[in-house]
């Protein structure tokens, strides 16, 4: 179904391209005739035809863009498995701004929780999947803010998009417009794919309670893929881990009865660690800590790989730079601006409380990321073409030589 729809999109575009080409040919013929006819009427006609040709060129450019986009999928095929199937671990940390930053961190967390519980759907419930949210740890402040928190958003279908019937019906049609394209994209994404572009620094500008001066604060968000349980032993070999518990001293076992069940897991090679204490069962605390550490280690390694590979300019491919300032929430101006795709929406409070922020910006970012891939492909094409022409010249040259 999916393949058929993308093929029919391409064949439709081919037909359009052929139509445009045919029209161009007939217009050029007309132009030639008009030129040879001469006279005032003819020169007016000429102008009209030239204008039509310009319009046609614009259509042709737009078409070749569409071509490229239909051939280059919105979801990077290298990441397809991760983006559609994996659950998400979300780390939120208040940055500069003290209490204000902590308060905003709490609002952002509530917004993500609302979005996740609504399954990534919009207010009407369209596109909603069955997702669960689990708070792994949270550190709160006196005023109801959070210093940091970690959550897991999981698809109860064991990781994956989880279509509702409306979406699967949509699959067979060609996305006719941007909205359908967006819905199609969102319906494919799993929790990690859905939240991934939230990684980065979110800046908030507002006047704090009990104050008159506006303040700028920052909150860091990191979105990491949550590895499924069966993948954990491979991703985190036991000999790379240090596990600390409260029962370290004394004889342990039947000798001691304790209820303190905190577990700290440290990944020795990277130093990355997590400490969980909120379950009565030590086993459950350990399972949560392992999940967190696995996600953080995986994400850390991917970041290193991307840094080593990609060019100097900041890139959305591979998720972007976590320390980059990605979005500003300006309360006095009542505006949220994403600095990457340069898109703004108004109504900060309703976007945050309704939880629609993620769903709104994600499609733009996916399109931007695809643009990067398209540019990369075009660059590669140019490089290849140069290589070919050089080797072609060489061959010509040697042929010429040998013919002498």
């Amino acid at each position: 179904g999916k393949e058929l729809s993308s093929l029919s999109a391409v064949s439709y575009l081919c037909e359009r391209a052929a139509e445009i080409h045919a029209e161009r040919v007939s217009l050029l013929e007309l132009l030639a005739e008009t030129k040879s006819a001469g006279g005032e009427e003819a020169s007016e006609m000429e102008e009209e035809i030239k204008q039509e040709l310009v319009d046609l060129d614009e259509q042709s450019t737009a078409l070749s863009h569409k071509f490229l986009h239909s051939l280059v999928p919105l979801i990077n095929p290298d990441d397809l498995q991760d983006l559609t199937a994996l659950d998400a671990v979300i780390d939120i940390r208040a940055g500069t701004g003290g209490d204000e930053a902590c308060l905003f961190a709490a609002e952002l967390m509530a917004s993500y929780e609302a979005t996740a519980r609504a399954g990534g759907g919009d207010d009407s419930g369209y596109g909603a999947k069955s997702w669960e949210v689990e708070v792994l740890s949270v550190s709160r402040t006196d005023l109801g803010g959070i210093k940091e928190a970690s959550l897991v958003v999981s698809s109860s279908k064991g990781g994956g998009g989880g279509y509702n019937s409306f979406d699967s019906h949509q699959q067979e049609d060609i996305p006719q417009n941007d909205e359908e394209l967006t819905n199609h994209l969102l319906s494919q994404l799993g929790p990690y794919g859905f939240f991934r572009f939230e990684s980065g620094v979110h800046r908030v500008q507002r006047v704090p309670v009990n104050d008159v001066k506006m303040q700028t604060s920052a909150v860091s968000v990191a979105i990491m893929p949550s590895l499924p349980d069966h993948a954990l032993p491979t991703a985190l070999p036991p000999n790379e881990l240090k596990i600390d518990t409260m029962r370290a001293s004394g004889a342990g076992g039947q000798h001691v009865n304790t209820t303190e069940s905190a577990v700290r897991v440290t990944h020795i090679p990277t130093g990355i660690m997590a400490c969980i204490q909120d379950e009565r069962s030590q086993h459950k605390n350990k399972a949560k800590a392992l999940k967190l550490v696995a996600a953080r280690v995986y994400s850390h390694r991917k970041e290193q790989e991307t840094k080593d590979r990609s060019a100097i300019r900041s890139s959305l491919m591979g998720g972007g730079d976590r320390s980059e300032r990605i979005r500003t929430y300006n309360f006095p101006q009542d505006r949220i601006t994403d600095h990457r795709c340069k898109v703004s929406v108004s109504g900060v409070s309703s976007w945050l409380s309704g939880g629609g922020v993620v769903r709104n910006f994600a499609p733009y970012l996916y399109m931007m990321e695809r643009e990067e891939r398209v540019e990369k492909l075009e660059e590669e094409e140019i490089v290849n073409a140069k290589k070919q022409s050089r080797s072609g010249e060489k061959r010509k040259g040697s042929r010429t030589k040998s013919s002498h």
Binding site: T245, R247, Q254, S281, Q282, H283
Partner: protein, 367 residues
């Protein structure tokens, strides 16, 4: 003790807020050197206030770390945590909390005072004295056995369910945690010498496993998944010359595929070092394994071949949680190919460490 009661009544007056109750009672427990004072006040107050099992104590933990500043915020602007923090205890709640604190100040284990606790993925396992409160190490024993069950199930050709024997079941924790993961595939038989343990195990089984039973009469259904019986290791035999009044009337099929046990294993000399919450409240029989701690373990080893008798050539394993001193003794005693190993029909395979790096678990094979 009237002195303790007086102190509590004075320090925790009527209409006290949740936050102050936590702070005051924590100070008292710390001054009296009660172990795990913070855990104690969090869980006991949550119990007295009848807060949610999952979140109550977590909310109270956050409240304990809040500073006094929060009380200056207006009521409407308060978060749920702040509201709870400022909530006043009713007379009944205050009285209930004080009685719970009194028990804790006598070093009674928290799990006994509250009557339940979490173990592995069992939420709210009933716990009653004198049965042993399940330890976190035992969760690892469950994981080891679950791994073997998973492996066996992949090539399982028998028409019957996999049969597992849990020796010395106590609260039923081990057997029930295993059955909870594979209710359709395993049948657990559990033994204990205390009638209260047998009753408690069956009660817990009813709570956690009746949801999986297919029969209309849930009790009948649960028995196909888990059944606890009053019997010692030695007396669990169909050999009539050894029968005593301990053995259940009905004969039990002795074709177990896996035997698991957390037997009493503390050597006699270590019993004196145990803290008062353990030695004064938990069952002596569930803790002490004799002079070297191996008494019950020896009983189990001697019965293993009979318990796992079957025509199948599949290896039958016994998994046990033991004292740190035991793995090397067992490795020597039941060294593969040795005279003793051949006489007993049981070989030592290997040992595993717990999360503290102590030799804690052994795996034996019936040869």
């Amino acid at each position: 003790s009237p002195v303790i009661n007086e102190l509590l009544l004075q320090q925790i007056p009527p209409k006290i807020t949740v936050q102050h109750a936590l702070q005051k009672s924590l100070k008292i427990l710390e001054e009296k050197s009660i172990p795990e004072p913070e855990e104690s006040v969090l869980h006991l107050l949550s119990h007295a206030l009848n807060l949610s099992w999952e979140n109550g104590y977590r909310q109270l933990r956050e409240i304990l770390s809040l500073s006094v500043r929060s009380s200056t915020i207006s009521e409407n602007a308060m978060s749920p945590i702040q509201q709870l923090s400022n909530q006043c205890l009713s007379k009944d709640e205050r009285d209930a909390y004080i009685s719970l604190l009194e028990r804790r100040m006598q070093h009674e284990p928290l799990q006994y005072i509250i009557g339940k606790w979490d173990f592995h993925f069992l939420t709210g396992l009933k716990i009653k004295k004198p049965m042993l409160c399940p330890r976190p190490e035992t969760e690892e024993l469950v994981e080891l056995v679950l791994a073997e069950v998973g492996n066996l199930l992949r090539d399982w050709k028998e028409k019957r369910k996999m049969r597992i024997l849990d020796v010395g079941c106590g609260t039923g924790a081990i057997g029930i945690a295993i059955a909870n993961k594979y209710p359709a595939a395993v049948q657990v038989v559990a033994l204990d010498v205390l009638p209260e343990a047998v009753d408690l195990s069956n009660e817990n089984a009813e709570q956690f496993l009746s949801r999986y039973s297919a029969h209309g009469d849930s009790k009948l259904g649960v028995k196909s998944i888990y059944e606890a019986m009053l019997c010692s290791a030695t007396h669990f035999t169909n050999n009539t010359t050894n029968t005593s009044r301990d053995l259940s009337k009905k004969k039990c099929k002795m074709n177990f595929d896996i035997v698991v046990s957390n037997p009493p294993y503390i050597p006699l000399k270590d019993m004196i070092d145990l803290s008062s919450d353990v030695v004064e409240y938990e069952s002596y029989e569930a803790l002490c394994g004799g002079v070297d701690g191996l008494n019950v373990i020896r009983d189990i080893v001697h019965r293993l071949p009979e318990w796992t008798f079957s025509s199948s050539s599949r290896a039958k394993h016994c998994w046990m949680e033991v004292d740190e001193s035991h793995p090397r003794h067992l490795a020597r005693w039941l060294s593969p190919g040795s005279v003793e190993a051949r006489r007993c029909g049981v070989e030592y395979v290997e040992s595993y460490t717990d999360f503290c790096g102590r030799d804690r678990f052994v795996k034996l094979r019936v040869s």
